[in-house]
Each structure stands twice: as C-alpha cells, then as structure tokens.
C-alpha cells in the first residue's frame, strides 16, 4: 500500500482504501496491519470507525444466523398489491410443497445450511446456543465438543475451513458406535468466498456421543473430516 517507512496511515487513505474493513477481514499485509494499528494510537478517533464497522459486521452475521439474509437480498420494495398477493401465494405454495413432501411426520433436520432450515415450518426458529470455528481436522480426539440442549431446542453454528471458495461439498454426519460409522444426516453445500463451509447442527436432535462430519469435495479430492463429541446437557 504505502512504503514501509510510512508507519502511520492517514485518515483519508484509510477511508478511501477501506482499510478498516480489510483489516477486520484479514486482508492487509503484515506491514499494512502494523501501520494501521499504529494509526489507531495516533488517531484515536479511528477507533469509533472500527467499532462501528465491527458492529455492522456482527449485524450481518446475526441476520445470516437467523436465516434472514436470503430474503433481504431478494427484497423488493412493494409496488402493487398484486405483487404482495403473488408473494403470499408463493409462500403458501412453498409451504404446501414442503408439507406434501412430508408423507409422515419426521424430525427436524440434524444439519442444515441455515438456522431456519433446522426448524420445522410450524416451529419458532431454533435458538443458536454455540458457534464453533474449526480451522482443520486434527485427527486426534474430538475437534469440537458440543453440549446437547436436551429437551430444549438449540443449535450450533459450525464454521469449517474447507477448500477453495466455491467448492461444492457433500456433507455427511455420521454417528460413531461400536459397529462403526452410521450416517444420520447429509446435505450439499458450497464453500463461501473465504473457503469456509458454514453449517448449523441441532443440539436437541443429536443424542450424546461421538460423531464424524465428513465433507467430500465434488472434484473427488480427499474428504475432510472433523470429529464432534456431543456431551450430555449441562
């Protein structure tokens, strides 16, 4: 960005080059990050901007966790009542479609791409009780511990470092017992722009015990495996 001698970035440069966003996203070089940190001390008013952007990012993350972002991305200002009726009809059709697919009552999903998808249509959204970020599969012991929410509804967010952004994965959740690994849930998903696969898992639907989360890339590369230990409710 600037020469190595320039240890303090000025406010104009920070604003024009979106330095705060890039810092929080881990997109600055070490020298740039050092310079930005120095700038914070020299220009304490920058802290306010950092705080505000951090809040903004958290706001986006909350909307995503609630499964509300997709609707907002597709949001259109209502132009006519007819459009509203069409939208309502679409929702009714979608609900009807889902209902028809359920030939018999079935439990809510054990893993899903969104919090909303973990809930049955008739349920209130499952509360998010934990969020886990795993950089890699360790291969020894459990990569992550989860606590069952027992009879209360609950979900955990899993952020799994996967492969290149945009890679499609077949995800399998396998329960481990003396007889080996038994698939209990599966879905397909795509790594986001950071190469991260984000999933939500039910904490009330999973019985305590060991599990294996297997991500198999569509390009036939070796699967990634993360071991999960679901503990009894605390």
């Amino acid at each position: 960005m600037e020469s190595r001698q320039k240890l303090v970035m000025d406010a104009k440069l920070i604003a024009e080059r979106h330095v705060i966003e890039r810092y929080l996203a881990g997109q600055l070089s070490e020298d740039e990050a050092d310079a930005f940190e120095n700038s914070l001390e020299e220009q304490p008013e920058l802290a306010r901007d950092v705080e505000r952007i951090a809040r903004m990012k958290t706001g986006f993350a909350v909307l995503q966790r609630r499964g509300e972002l997709a609707a907002l991305l597709e949001h259109k200002a209502p132009r006519t009542k007819r459009l509203a009726w069409l939208a309502a009809a679409a929702v009714v059709l979608a609900i009807g479609f889902v209902a028809l697919r359920r030939e018999a009552p079935e439990p809510a999903a054990l893993i899903a791409e969104s919090l909303a998808a973990l809930s049955l249509p008739s349920e209130t959204p499952v509360p998010l009780r934990a969020s886990i970020s795993l950089a890699r599969a360790r291969g020894v012991g459990a990569d992550a511990e989860l606590f069952s929410s027992g009879t209360e509804q609950g979900a955990a967010e899993l952020e799994l470092a996967a492969g290149p952004p945009g890679t499609r994965y077949a995800v399998e959740l396998l329960a481990i017992d003396v007889n080996g690994a038994r698939p209990v849930a599966n879905l397909s998903t795509t790594a986001n722009s950071r190469g991260v696969v984000r999933l939500f898992t039910s904490l009330h639907g999973l019985a305590p015990g060991p599990y294996l989360l297997r991500l198999t890339p569509a390009d036939a590369a070796p699967p990634l495996e993360y071991s999960l230990a679901v503990r009894p409710p605390r």
Binding site: Q27, A47, R48, M56, G59, V62, E68, L73, A130
Partner: protein
Amino acid sequence: MGSTDFPLRKEDLAGIRSQLERKCGNPTIAEDLLSEAIETSLVKLREGKIERPEQLIGYVYRVALNHLRNFRRRDKAPMSSAEPLEMLEDERTSDVAAPIDHARWAQVVMEVLKELPAARDRELLVSFYLGEEDKDSLCKRLDLDETHFNRVIHRARERFRALLEGHGLQRSDFLSVALLLVG
C-alpha cells in the same frame, strides 16, 4: 481496575468484542482479551507511555485488534494436534447484554439493506462485510466500477452510522469527557 479521567466503557467496545468472539470462538476468552487490552492500556497510561490521554481508546483498540490478528494468524498456521480447540461456548455464558446489542445492530443492518433498491448493491454489502470478499473480486463478479463500489460502501456506512446513532450510539459516547469505570 480503577477509574480514568476520560471515557472508556466496555459497552463502547461491544463491536470489537463480538469480532473477537467470532474469531477466538469463545465469549469468555474474548471478554478476557478485551479486559486485558484495557488493563494493558491503562498500565501504559499510568506509566506515561501513552502521550495523550485521548490516545487511550486508540491504544485499547490497537491491543484488542492485535489479539484478533493473532487469532487469524493461528487460523493460517500449519496443523498441530497440540493446538487448543476453537470453540464458542453457549451464548448464555457471554455478556447478557450482547444478544440485545447484536439484535439491534442486525435490525439496523436490515434497515440499511432494505433501503437499497438495487439487489446488486445489497449483494455487494453482504459479500463485502459478511463474506469478506475483496473489492477487486467483487467489482469483477458484480460488474461494478470502483466509483460505484466506493459510493455504495460509503453510503451504507453513513446510513448505518446515522441509524445507529438514532438507536442510541452517539459520537459523544466515544469522545465525551466523563468519569467512567472500567471492569
């Protein structure tokens, strides 16, 4: 921790704490790191190593962000079975005010998004702030020029600021001269 002659309130640091939580994966650890950042800064101040008192808040952020950066470095480090788990505990163990704050920020972001008529601009914001996709990639993918990108980001930031201040966060929260306790 003692008092200072200028503002330093933990609630003013709620945004950076939430980022620390996301990165380190544990609200208790995030809280500890933030407390440590504040304490380190206060010690520096008392030792006269921070020239001007108004620099304290910047110094706190500097230390806190450095923790965030260290977690990012650790994410990129080679695999080691000795590394500790990165895990978020039950949200009930974190600051009880956090979910309320987070919901408020989400509401403001929702308002910002709803005010944008172009779906492409909404996608830009989501991809930039949540997906952390870089500017060049976004401009290319969404077929945007740099001027448009800058304008959308600038307006969104300003709108978020205005709405947030309308929801209670004031500029004076950071700059007012008041006697406040930390910790």
